[in-house]
Symmetry: C2
Subunit: 131 residues, 2 copies
DNA sequence: TAAGAATATATCTATATCGGTATATACAAT
DNA sequence: ATTGTATATACCGATATAGATATATTCTTA
């Protein structure tokens, strides 16, 4: 594995949070949106960036794209992810990310094939009626 | 210490070679030029980049600027440098760098206050006489 | 087949980075 | 004071990156 790709991947804070989250298990794009509070495009592009460097892998599950760390985790990548996690262990942001990740994974496991809960953005009440 | 700065520093191959070299002891700019085979400006700018992020420190010795890792090495930086070295242990480029670094440090120790040997670029023979 | 949901990509803009050339700075030696 | 040596900085152009908006793709469901 190329070191360049690893450091390029780790060069951005959002991507570091994504990779740390993935260390605890796979997640889909909407999960990342919810946990990281970032836009769909932003998440999708960072994931594409990581994919292009073989730092993550994907599979499709119905409408959802489920991301995970590579099945054959290169030792260099494993080492750097471990190092990163070691360094952010005390960081409240990363701690919160992990908690939320655990929560969402649990929720998905319970709700069956449904991946994401009804969109958090909308109040789930009414369509906004416009003249 | 900011993780951003660390990953910015490690984002470039030359800078990685510089940092690995410094793990074995201090070096001056001309040494880096000789070992890495890069231009003065290139080296100087990469070192400025590392300095701006507190990844290296400098002291002046006559005409020479001697670079070293920070006296108080932040644990995050130490961890990442160890991780990097672990990953490049087998890389012939890095191996050669370390050997050359050791050689140049020895040469300096022997030659006293003189830092660098007479410029390798010039044949040390004649000035080129031009009409 | 049409509509909707989840995700990806295209395009644009602003900014950072990298390397090069030219020039400035700081010190040493004469 | 002048010259030389080692290093740093200014400026320029090419390329990469990050975010935003708009649009395309892919699958599901009615």
């Amino acid at each position: 594995m190329k070191l360049d790709g690893i450091y390029e991947g780790l060069h951005d804070g959002l991507r570091r949070r994504i990779l740390c989250l993935l260390r605890n298990g796979e997640l889909c794009v909407c999960h990342f949106q919810e946990i990281l509070g970032a836009s769909q495009v932003q998440i999708s592009k960072h994931l594409a960036y990581l994919r292009a460097r073989a730092l993550v892998e994907v599979r499709r599950e119905a409408n959802w794209m489920i991301y995970r760390l590579p099945d054959q985790l290169a030792p260099e990548l494993a080492a750097h992810l471990a190092c990163l996690e070691e360094c952010v262990r005390g960081d409240p942001i990363f701690r919160r990310d992990l908690l939320q990740g655990r929560r969402l994974r649990g929720r998905k496991a319970r709700s069956g094939p449904q991946c994401c809960t009804p969109p958090i953005s909308k109040p789930a009440s009414t369509q906004l009626a416009r003249p």
